[in-house]
C-alpha cells in the first residue's frame, strides 16, 4: 500500500477496507458483486489500462449505476486524473458544452450510454468499458495522486450549470461528518438507488467505502417494489432516497411498509424539501430507526444535518450546522436573508468560471438560498433568492404557494413562478400537474388559495400541464418555466 503526504483520499478508504475486510462483500449490483479485495484489484487494473490517456488531467465518465461505474470512477481517480461525471440522460448540447468546459481527454462509458451517443460528435475519443479492459496494462502499481477527485456540473435549476470540482480533502471532511452524525459503520448494508453522478448518491458511496459497509447499488428507484424488496433481501440497515420516492412509498399499505422498514435504522433523504406529511409518516413507519436529511449544495456538501425524532417537531427544518462548518444569514440587496456557508466542505473556486467565482467571498459561499435559524439553531429554508416573486413589492417564495396548492386533492405536482405584469411587475403563475382522472379545475385551486394564502400570493394565472421540467434528482428547473 502506498503512503500519502496529505490526508486520506477515496483510494485510501478502499485500501483500509482491503486491509481490514478483504473478503467482505463491498458491492452488490445486478452486474456483479465484488469483495473489497476484488474491487481494489479491478481498480488497479483499470488504472493501468488507461495509462495511455496521459495528455490531459480530466477523463469523462458516463454510465448508469453499475459495478463498472464504480470501477471506472475509482480507476480514473487512482490514475491521478479527475473524473468528470456526466449523467447518462444528458442532452447533446449540454454534453458538448461540458466536454469543452472540462477539457476532457476522453469519454469512458457503458454500452448503453454509448448507444445514446451514437449520433453525437463528441470531438474526443469514446471508449466503452469493454474497450478499456482489452487494453494492455502498462504498469501494475500505478497509483497516482491528485488533489481533485471529481468534476460535476451543478443541477442548473435557476441558471446554466456551473462546473464544480471536488477535492479529496473536501470528501474526507464531509464523509467523516456523515459518519459521525448519522452513525454509519462497517455493520451497515446500504441500499442506494440514487444516480451516482450526483453529490447525494456519490456521498453515500464514499461513506460506505470509508466505513467498510456493504453497498447495494440499484439502477434507480423506478421500481418501488424492487427497492422495498431489496431492503429485506439484503438485510439492509440504511436506505438513501429522494423525498419524491419516500412520498410514493406512502401509497403502499402501512403494514406492508412497516414490515419492509422493520430493520432499517436510517433513511437518508435530500435534494428537495420533504413534505411535512412524509416526515410525520416516516417517523411512525421507522420503528427502529430515523429519517434524516441534510442541507447542502454541490459546492458545499452536507452543510447541515437533521435527524427527525419522534419527540421533537422541526419537521420542516434542515437541521443544525454540521461540525466544522459555519453558516450565516446575510441580508441581501432585496432584503433577502441569504445563506452563506464556510468550511472544509466548500469549494475554493468554480471550474473555469470567473463569473461564478464572485459568489465566493473570503471563503464564504453565497448560496443564493434564502433561510433563517430559529432560536434553537435549526435552519429553515425559504427558497432561492432568484426564485423570489415580487408582486407589487410584496416578496413571495414559490415554495410557500406550492405547499398550499399540493394540499388540494387532485394535484400531483405544482410549480409557482413569477410572470411579468404591467402593473404589478410580476404576478404568480402556477403550472399544475393533475392526478389522473381528476376533475380539478382552476376555480377549486383559487378557492383553496384564498382560504390559505395572503391575497398577494393568490395565483393570477394557472395552467394545467403534463409534467414539470426537472433534474435527475427531482428539482424543478425553474428557469424553464413559463
Amino acid at each position: 500500500m502506498r503512503s500519502f503526504t496529505f490526508k486520506m483520499n477515496i483510494i485510501n478508504f478502499l485500501e483500509n477496507c482491503v486491509e481490514k475486510y478483504p473478503t467482505k462483500t463491498a458491492l452488490i449490483n445486478e452486474e456483479r458483486n465484488l469483495t473489497f479485495q476484488q474491487l481494489y484489484q479491478e481498480v488497479q487494473n483499470f488504472s493501468s489500462c488507461i495509462e495511455f490517456l496521459n495528455k490531459k488531467n480530466v477523463i469523462s465518465l458516463i454510465a448508469e449505476n453499475s459495478t463498472s461505474f464504480i470501477i471506472g470512477y475509482l480507476g480514473i481517480i487512482n490514475s491521478g486524473k479527475i473524473v468528470h461525471l456526466i449523467s447518462p440522460e444528458i442532452s447533446e448540447l449540454n454534453l458538448l458544452n461540458q466536454i469543452k468546459s472540462a477539457d476532457s481527454e476522453a469519454i469512458i462509458c457503458s454500452n448503453t450510454a454509448k448507444k445514446n451517443l451514437e449520433y453525437t460528435s463528441t470531438q474526443i475519443p469514446l471508449f466503452e468499458f469493454s474497450d478499456i479492459k482489452s487494453k494492455s496494462a502498462l504498469n501494475v502499481n500505478n497509483s497516482k495522486t491528485n488533489d481533485l477527485a471529481y468534476l460535476t456540473y451543478t443541477s442548473g435549476t435557476t441558471s446554466e450549470p456551473k462546473g464544480v470540482a471536488i477535492s479529496h480533502a473536501m470528501i474526507e471532511f464531509t464523509t467523516k461528518n456523515i459518519v459521525k452524525e448519522l452513525g454509519y459503520s462497517n455493520l451497515d448494508v446500504d441500499v442506494l438507488p440514487l444516480p451516482m453522478h450526483h453529490s447525494f448518491g456519490l456521498g453515500c458511496f464514499h461513506t460506505s467505502l470509508y466505513v467498510g459497509s456493504t453497498l447495494v447499488l440499484l439502477k434507480n428507484a423506478n421500481n418501488l417494489e424492487y427497492v422495498l424488496e431489496s431492503l429485506k433481501k439484503y438485510n439492509a440497515t440504511t436506505l438513501a432516497a429522494i423525498p419524491a420516492t419516500l412520498t410514493k412509498f406512502l401509497k403502499f399499505d402501512r403494514n406492508v411498509l412497516e414490515n419492509y422498514f422493520a430493520d432499517i435504522r436510517l433513511v437518508i433523504t435530500n435534494s428537495t424539501l420533504i413534505p411535512k406529511n412524509t416526515v410525520q409518516d416516516f417517523k411512525q413507519i421507522l420503528k427502529k430507526g430515523h429519517l434524516a436529511t441534510y442541507y447542502g449544495l454541490t459546492e458545499a456538501s452536507r452543510s447541515t444535518f437533521m435527524i427527525f425524532d419522534k419527540n421533537n417537531g422541526h419537521e420542516e427544518s434542515v437541521g443544525h450546522t454540521a461540525p466544522g462548518v459555519e453558516i450565516k444569514i446575510v441580508n441581501g440587496n432585496n432584503n433577502d436573508e441569504e445563506i452563506w456557508i464556510k468550511g472544509n466542505n466548500v469549494i475554493k473556486k468554480y471550474w473555469n468560471n470567473v463569473k461564478a467565482d464572485k459568489n465566493l467571498v473570503d471563503g464564504w459561499l453565497q448560496t443564493g438560498d434564502i433561510g433563517y435559524f430559529d432560536e434553537e439553531g435549526y435552519l429553515f429554508l425559504k427558497g432561492r433568492n432568484d426564485d423570489i416573486i415580487n408582486v407589487g413589492g410584496e416578496k413571495i417564495t414559490p415554495y410557500e404557494i406550492e405547499e398550499v396548492v399540493k394540499q388540494i386533492p387532485g394535484v400531483d405536482d405544482v410549480a409557482a413562478f413569477g410572470v411579468d405584469h404591467e402593473i404589478f411587475g410580476q404576478v404568480v403563475k402556477l403550472n399544475v400537474v393533475k392526478s389522473k382522472d381528476s376533475d380539478l379545475d382552476k376555480s377549486k385551486i383559487l378557492t383553496h388559495c384564498m382560504k390559505n394564502l395572503e391575497k398577494f400570493k393568490i395565483p393570477s394565472k394557472i395552467d394545467f400541464v403534463e409534467s414539470l421540467p426537472k433534474t435527475d434528482y427531482g428539482k424543478v428547473k425553474r428557469f424553464m418555466l413559463k
Partner: protein, 88 residues
C-alpha cells in the same frame, strides 16, 4: 349561453359574481353585499383584491379581461357588466 362548460343564464351569472365577491372578501356577509357598493366603500379593496377579482372571473367564465377593463372595475355591478360583455 355557455360559461366554462356550464349552461348559464343572467341570474346564474349574477350568482357566480356574487359568490366571487363573498370569496374574495371573506369578511363580507351576504346581507352586506351590494351591487352598487363602490371600491372606496370597502375596507380591504386594494390593488391585490382587484387582481384577485379579475383572476376569479377569468377562471370561472373562461374569459380574459384587458388591462383597461380591469382598472375600470369599481363595484360588483361594473364586474357584472364587464362579464356580460364578454359572454355575448
Amino acid at each position: 349561453m355557455i360559461v366554462a362548460g356550464v349552461l348559464s343564464n343572467d341570474s346564474e351569472v349574477e350568482g357566480i359574481i356574487k359568490n366571487i365577491f363573498l370569496e374574495v372578501f371573506p369578511n363580507l356577509s351576504e346581507a352586506e353585499f351590494s351591487w352598487n357598493k363602490e371600491q372606496k366603500d370597502y375596507e380591504s379593496w386594494d390593488s391585490f383584491t382587484q387582481l384577485n377579482l379579475i383572476t376569479f372571473v377569468e377562471s370561472k367564465f373562461d374569459i380574459a379581461l384587458s388591462l383597461e377593463e380591469s382598472i375600470d372595475i369599481k363595484s360588483a355591478h361594473d364586474l357584472l357588466k364587464c362579464v356580460r360583455s364578454h359572454l355575448k
